[in-house]
Amino acid sequence: MIEPQGVQWRVIALEENTAFKNMALDEAVSNAVAQNKSPPTLRFYGWNPSAVSIGYFQSLEKEVRLSECEAQGVDVVRRRTGGGAVYHDRDGEITYSIIAPEFMFPKDIIASYKLICGSIIDAFGLLDLTAEFKPINDIILNGKKVSGNAQTRRNGILLQHGTILFGLDVKKMFSVLNVSAEKISDKMIASVEERVTSVKKNSSATKDQLYDALLKGFTADKKWAFGKYSEEELARADELAKTSYSTKEWNSMR
C-alpha cells in the first residue's frame, strides 16, 4: 500500500447501526474523503437489526425472501458494491469498510482485494488461524469461506467492505435468502456447512478477541488514531439513509 507522508488513518471503533445507516455512512465518508475533508478511514461495525445486503447488480426479488425478512425483523439493503447476497447476523459477524484514495492501492482490482484481505489474514494469524485469500473476493479458512468482500471505486476513492463470520446460523441464513423450501433441508444445510465456516468453529476466540485481532491486522502497517465522523458526514449519512438506502426505488432497482 502506498502511504503518502503524514497521512494518518481514522479508525471508527466497532459500532452498531441499521443496514441503511451503515451503507449511507460508507457513501458519506467516501464523499468526504474524495473532497479531502476526511482522512482515509477504516470502520468496524455490526448490523442492528440483523440484515440482508444484496450486491448492486442482484435482483431483490430473486435473492431475498422479503416476507420472511419482514416477519423476522430483518432489514434489507442494496449495496453500492457488486457481489452476492449476505445475511448479516447481529451477533454472528464483524463488518469492516476501508475507504481511501484509489492511488494508495494497486490499480489491478484482484491485487487490491488481495492486499486488503491480507490484513484479515494477518488478523486470523493473531488468533493462530491460517487463512488464505481466494480470488476474486473471498477468504478461506481450512478450505471453507469465512469472509466475503466487495469493492467499488468512484471519484478516485476505493471503498472495500467485507464481513468476517464469527458464528454461523445456516438455518436462519436460508430462511431469509431466496432458496427454495426444499433446499432448506438438512442435506442442503450440511452442504453449506461444508463450504462456509466461522471463527467460532475453528477457535475459542471471543468476538471481542476477533475484533481486537482485526484492529491489529488492519492497522499494523498504518499510522492511525481512533476518530469520529464529522458533523457533515453524519448529516449526509442520515440524509442518504432516508432518501436512498431505505427506499423502495433504490432497493428494488434491479
Binding site: G55, F57, Q58, K62, G82, G83, A85, P135, I136, A150
Partner: protein, 102 residues
C-alpha cells in the same frame, strides 16, 4: 406483447450471471443483467444492457460482441468475475429457450 426469456449461468470461478430478455416483433425490447459479479463503474450496467436493444432475436453474435466490447471500451467499464463471452452465452441460452409466462 413482449415475450420474456431468461437464463442463468454459473461462471467458472463461482460468479453467477442471469439475464432477462423481452422480445417484441422479433426485436429485443429490453435486457436486464443481474448477478453477483462486479463491474466498475456500477451505474454503467445500463449502457451494457442498451447494447442489445433493437437487435434481432436471431442475433449476429459477432456484431453483438463487437458492440459490447466497444461499449466497454468507450465507457471505461471494467468487468470483474464476468466476461463478454459469459454475457453473450447466457443471452444465447435465454433466447434459445421457451418464453416465460409473465
Amino acid at each position: 406483447m413482449a415475450l420474456h426469456y431468461s437464463a442463468v449461468e454459473k461462471i467458472k470461478g463461482g460468479k453467477t450471471v442471469s439475464i432477462d430478455v423481452w422480445v417484441e416483433n422479433d426485436l429485443i425490447a429490453k435486457v436486464k443483467l443481474t448477478g453477483d459479479f462486479f463491474m466498475h463503474p456500477e451505474e454503467q450496467i445500463n449502457v451494457l444492457e442498451r447494447v442489445f436493444e433493437g437487435a434481432k432475436v436471431k442475433f449476429d453474435w459477432i456484431e453483438l460482441e463487437r458492440k459490447l466490447m466497444m461499449a466497454i471500451q468507450d465507457n471505461d467499464i471494467q468487468l470483474v468475475g464476468v466476461g463478454t463471452g459469459s454475457i453473450l452465452s447466457v443471452l444465447r441460452k435465454a433466447s434459445s429457450g421457451e418464453p416465460k409466462n409473465d
